[in-house]
């Protein structure tokens, strides 16, 4: 079964939860008891309609305030694909959750209220999907029923968004525009008579056509070692397997590989997945690899093909999204987790806070506050083997861990 991960983004009241509810309802993914629970809660709150957000806002605080605070995961499937929606909050103060949702998604759905058009929030949602290089973006112009299904309104919004797209930092991003009414069900799962001027796909039709390749794209293979498997049993007495997940490309038996950071070379002897061996394993596989030679390899090391070495640096510059209440300031020390590798680091400088509204007016500041995104220079205690994020997602991203609180304080995308 193929799995497609989707992140949603939209401002408060753009109808995000209604859209998700509609997707679930029209694909018959809502069971009777869940529907009954939504009905009951809707009635208790005095609504005369079904509030689908009650299905996804799982925390008491969320239902009290009628807003989404944290990422919820919602599941539905069609005969061809399984879908996982990361329903992320739209408020500005929850940027960190949007970044989190986008980090594992192949598709983003950005909702726009047809009556309000492209607004400042839309800029930020698009910016985040640009920055994280989410491959496909669906711009869903919602509430078309409230603007009499007017084609010109849709076209105007599309034009505004295209203008925004001119400033995109990710030219290969695939954009599609779909006019919908989540409330009435127009163009979400099925086409209706309301918009004869629209000939494109519905949201679900579009999703069904998308490829489900791993988000950690990159042509060159990166194999960070998670753990070493040494059974020391009679049958596998000298077995030494390197367990990890393949990011980008593929690995074949016989490939000449280099172990980082030791720069030792060897060849792949076997590729195990459970008790079977394979000649090749592609990106996304959690395999167990043996090498021709006995080499000292530990967690945090990385296997790459010898002719595809990544960059190596002790100083890196990255775009950082800050996720912690304590501000990021120069001089501060953090643990950097890059793949399975952990390195101590010191913030050399915070250069600016990036304006996420594409105004180009970045603020020069030497600190990053919660939910701010900025350019940061970092010095590492040991060099890391990395790729630029734009070339390789998994090997170009890292998280910053506060050594005092253990919190995941931020995420960085290496330039």
């Amino acid at each position: 079964m193929e799995v497609l991960k989707i992140a949603t983004a939209g401002s408060v009241d753009d109808g995000k939860s209604t859209l998700i509810g509609r997707l679930l309802y029209d694909t018959k993914s809502l069971t009777d008891d869940k529907l009954e629970a939504i009905k009951k809660s809707s009635e208790q709150r005095g609504y005369d309609y079904l509030d689908f957000s009650l299905a996804t806002d799982g925390l008491v605080a969320e239902r009290e305030q009628g807003i989404t605070i944290d990422v919820a995961h919602i599941y539905f499937s069609t005969p061809t694909k399984s879908y996982i929606i990361a329903d992320t909050p739209g408020h500005v103060e929850y940027t960190r959750n949007m970044v989190t949702g986008a980090s594992t998604s192949q598709v983003a759905i950005i909702l726009i209220d047809a009556r309000r058009g492209v607004i400042e929030q839309t800029y930020r949602h698009f910016f985040i999907n640009n920055l994280l290089r989410v491959k496909n973006v669906i711009v869903a112009v919602n509430k078309m029923d409230l603007v009499d299904y007017d084609e010109t309104i849709f076209e105007d919004i599309k034009r505004d968004f295209e203008a925004l797209n001119q400033k995109s930092t990710y030219a290969e991003q695939q954009l599609s525009y779909i006019p919908v009414s989540a409330l009435k069900g127009d163009n979400v799962v099925s086409k209706t008579e309301t918009m004869p001027w629209y000939n494109g796909d519905t949201i679900l039709e579009h999703l069904e056509k998308l490829e489900t390749t791993d988000v950690f794209d990159g042509e060159q293979v990166r194999f960070p070692i998670q753990t070493v498997i040494r059974p020391k049993t009679t049958d596998f007495h000298d077995f030494r397997g390197y367990a990890g997940k393949i990011y980008g490309g593929s690995l074949k038996v016989g490939d000449t590989v280099t172990v980082l950071p030791s720069l030792t070379q060897s060849r792949i002897k076997e590729i195990y997945f459970f008790d079977q061996t394979y000649k090749e394993a592609i990106a996304g596989s959690s395999v167990n690899i043996t090498l021709e030679d006995d080499i000292n390899i530990t967690r945090g090391d990385m296997l790459v093909k010898t002719n595809e070495l990544p960059k190596v640096e002790k100083h890196i510059r990255a775009t950082v999204c800050w996720m912690d209440g304590k501000q990021l300031a120069s001089g501060a020390k953090y643990i950097i987790q890059h793949n399975t590798n952990k390195v101590l680091s010191k913030i050399d400088a915070v250069h600016n806070v990036i304006a996420t509204d594409y105004s180009g007016v970045d603020i020069t500041k030497n600190q990053l506050a919660l939910n701010e995104i900025g350019e940061v220079s970092i010095r590492l205690s040991k060099p890391i083997y990395y790729d630029a994020y734009k070339n390789h997602k998994s090997n170009g991203a890292f998280i910053l861990i506060d050594a005092h609180t253990n919190a995941t304080a931020g995420v960085g995308f290496i330039n």
Partner: protein, 316 residues
């Protein structure tokens, strides 16, 4: 329907060594998570209930560390109200795998006066498990507890992280969870804290059943349709064969073909009418089902926030 995981991973080929490994994203994700746990923690444990989700976890753990053994023990928090079939199954499985099994009993917590048994019509030991679990975590100094909870089960679980940090009182701070970016799992904790780990977070009920079907995993017999003496209450079907399930005098016992969709504490797990007596029929039935899995769990029906409240207190 093409709806199964089985379509993806092709292993049964005459010459496996010449094949390119095709992948099942959910299975690979779970294996990845198990390996992160083994590498990042000193004393992990797999919480095993004898239910289908924890049985699936055991298979995935086997795959993650083959040809090595599963590098952590299993622990069962026994409410004393288990279906006898699941206990027999548990003991057999542990024997076959050669892994260590730890059992801690809710009855002991009751005898020690740490918890008070509920009484009445809806009495259940389900929430009492929390105390026994937290005591066991402290006793063995476990720093990571892996469980088979899935996000599709319940709306508070939909908010759960894969690595979910609990403070030294076992509490879940749901408003202040660590963001989980890409594949990177941050398992850094203070002494006394522990992490609850959910390797099959992203699986749905159907994914689990399809996997059991594809992998030919054995599961306890109560998951399959069988004749059982039952009675009806609140529109749900309860077993009349087990004395721990409270039954009033006027609640009529009749024999029906039923099976269980979840296997929790007997006192809060209702059966469903079913003729699905093979795994293929069960998968077909789940696919067509109009009721969610936890629809037959009375513990979630106590209030809209029942699960969130239990989780805050340290429940799994």
């Amino acid at each position: 329907m093409l709806h199964t995981l089985s379509a993806v991973l092709e292993k049964e080929v005459e010459e496996a060594s010449l094949k390119t490994l095709r992948i099942n994203a959910l299975e690979n994700e779970a294996i990845y998570i198990f390996r992160e746990v083994a590498a990042q923690f000193e004393k992990p444990v797999l919480l095993f209930s004898g239910g289908k989700d924890s049985i699936t976890l055991v298979r995935l753990a086997q795959k993650a560390f083959y040809p090595g053994k599963i590098p952590f023990p299993l622990m069962h928090i026994d409410t004393g109200h288990n279906f006898p079939e699941t206990i027999a199954f548990r003991d057999q499985l542990v024997k076959e795998l050669g892994v260590e099994l730890i059992v801690r009993n809710v009855q002991d917590s009751i005898d020690q006066g740490k918890v008070i048994e509920e009484t009445g019509k809806y009495a259940s030991r389900n929430s009492l498990q929390t105390t026994t679990l937290l005591d066991a975590i402290e006793e063995f100094k476990f720093d990571a507890c892996m469980g088979g909870a899935r996000r599709d089960e319940e709306k508070a679980r939909a908010k759960e992280r894969i690595f979910s940090v609990r403070d030294d009182f076992g509490q879940w701070d749901e408003k202040n969870q660590r963001p989980e970016l890409f594949d990177m799992l941050n398992g850094e904790i203070e002494i006394g804290q522990n992490v609850r780990v959910f390797p099959i977070s992203n699986w749905t009920e159907l994914d689990v059943w399809s996997y059991i079907q594809k992998e030919k995993i054995e599961i306890p017999s109560i998951y399959f349709a069988h004749k059982r003496a039952v009675f009806m209450r609140d529109g749900l079907i309860w077993s009349a064969e087990d004395e721990v399930v409270f039954r009033a005098e006027d609640e009529l016992v009749e024999e029906k073909m039923v099976r269980f969709r979840t296997v929790g504490d007997m006192s809060c797990t209702a059966a469903v009418l079913s003729y699905a007596d093979t795994i293929d029929k069960v998968v077909a039935e789940i696919r067509e089902s109009k009721i969610s899995e936890r629809g037959a769990r009375i513990d979630d029906k106590r209030s809209e926030a029942a699960m969130e409240k239990r989780k805050q207190q340290g429940y799994f």
